[in-house]
Amino acid sequence: MKKLIYILISFLLLSCSNSDLFEDEARHDLWLVHEGAELPIVVEGNTNSKVFLILLHGGPGGSSQEFNAGSKPFSDLIEEDFAAVYYDQRNAGLARGEWDPEKLTIEQHIEDLDLVIDLLYHKFGTDIKIFLAGHSWGGYLGTAYLLNEERQSKVKAFINIDGAIHRDKRNRHCLEYMIEIAEEQIADDTNVENWTNLKNDAEEELSRNVMYDEKKESIPNALISRSQVYIEQDGLVTFNSNSPLSSAYRDNYDPLLILINDRKGTLIEQMYLYDLIIESNLERITLPVLSVYGKYDVVTAFEQGEYLLDGISTPSQDKRMILLEKSGHSSMKNEPVDLAMEIIEWIETYQ
């Protein structure tokens, strides 16, 4: 009987020990309750590596599921080597809580992210290594987060995936880049009529020299949508993604919630003002930065990545720009394996 009690006590102690935290195929479902929001943080993969990659989703108003449920070729590779941290921002994705438009600010998102990072250190120990990656708006948020030295010290390196780093410049960059693609396609005698019309419309928009704001973005955004259609029609990008449907039952993917919980509030409007803060503080960033863009990304052209790399003070050997040849704006769905391999290589260099 005594033996049985010892065995039971040992079992209970072991089951509560840190060994559960660190496994080759771990899964931890955490929630951060902060300022009215309930933010889901899913840690999945190889926590034994003690390397945690936080994936910031796009939008504003997207979901971290963009890296996971529908992009298994990407997430499986990342999770094999490291712990992927899928975090949904407030009023987006699977996040819940109360609705308070006053809290939907860039500053609040930075504060939330800072607490997510602190929570990971609290939960998994201060000896873990945290890497930050952001896609599209996530790239913007990641950059904004890193402008402060204290916050920057919590992160080993940053991976900017198709990030919109400067909202205002982004419109002009996209228009110029779609003209370049149009000229290439016309020279190649492909889809000539459509590309010619698009080129003319983009040139006309550029010649208007518009000072953009959220409302005036609608014209470049419409041209971007058109160019994305032609890019797909011409087979310039590939797709390697899976149906997220099975994740709706086996995992925490909720398509109905994600579809509707897509609230930008005034975040895009705020980005136009915050551009100035980013511009004047970019040189404070000194950590290693990898910028990965799709060659056919017309939503956030690769010039956005160059703008980031040119502006930061990171030594040139620790910053790098990569163009994925067959990708558009969502390289985790276009070339997930190539993207994952680039990220893994980058993390292995700086872990």
């Binding site: 902060h34 607490l115 086996r250 509707i260």
Partner: protein, 199 residues
């Protein structure tokens, strides 16, 4: 304001559930039944529903040519359901329903087939799965009972039939709108499969 409205509505739902249960004691006990259903949100998120039917009104007519009885019932059906959303939440739904049933019975042996539709209003409690943390005085502390509250409004369509004198089978589909604390309107679809036992 929204929070106050939600609290009042939740109280009303609780009161109506219990009030109707008590009130039914004075009405005829015939055709009271209890149901137990598989309750699959989005079809495959597993759950269970228990409901109870109390007759409010009924009417019967005979189709002499087809030797068939047509019966109509209006039931009040308070229900409680639980469904599991993997790695996200445990969900508890409390919803009184008003249920109209059209039953076609063979006069010869009393066997029947029925179709029914229902409307419901309810309260949904989502209890989040996982470890929940909050920053208090610079330290993270675990939060107990984190979750969200919603009001639901919905309708359903079922069909079923005779198994034995006291048992019916049932297949059904529910649709409900979930109005959440974070001011979202979510659409929920449920598939049901179950049995009802007459009391």
């Amino acid at each position: 304001m929204g929070g106050v409205f939600m609290r009042i509505l939740i109280c009303l739902i609780f009161v109506s559930q219990s009030n109707f249960l008590l009130a039914q004691d004075t009405i005829s006990h015939s055709d009271k039944n209890i149901g137990i259903n598989y309750f699959g949100e989005l079809g495959l998120r597993p759950g269970i529903e228990i409901d109870c039917g109390f007759p409010l009104w009924n009417r019967e007519s005979m189709k002499e040519k087809k030797k068939r009885k047509v019966q109509q019932y209006l039931h009040f059906r308070p229900s409680i359901a639980y469904y599991f959303y993997a790695r996200n939440s445990n969900n508890f739904l409390l919803a009184p329903k008003l249920n109209y049933q059209l039953r076609f019975a063979k006069a010869s042996n009393g066997r029947y087939f029925f179709i029914e539709s229902s409307v419901k209003i309810g309260y949904l409690r989502k209890s989040l799965i996982g470890e929940k943390y909050r920053l208090t005085d610079g330290n993270f502390e675990e939060v107990k009972r984190a979750g969200t509250n919603s009001i639901v409004l919905g309708s359903g369509f079922d069909f079923g039939g005779y198994v034995s004198k006291s048992i019916d089978w049932l297949i059904g589909f529910d649709y409900f709108i979930e109005s959440t604390q974070d001011r979202l309107i979510l659409h929920r679809f449920v598939a049901k499969l179950g049995v009802r036992k007459k009391l």
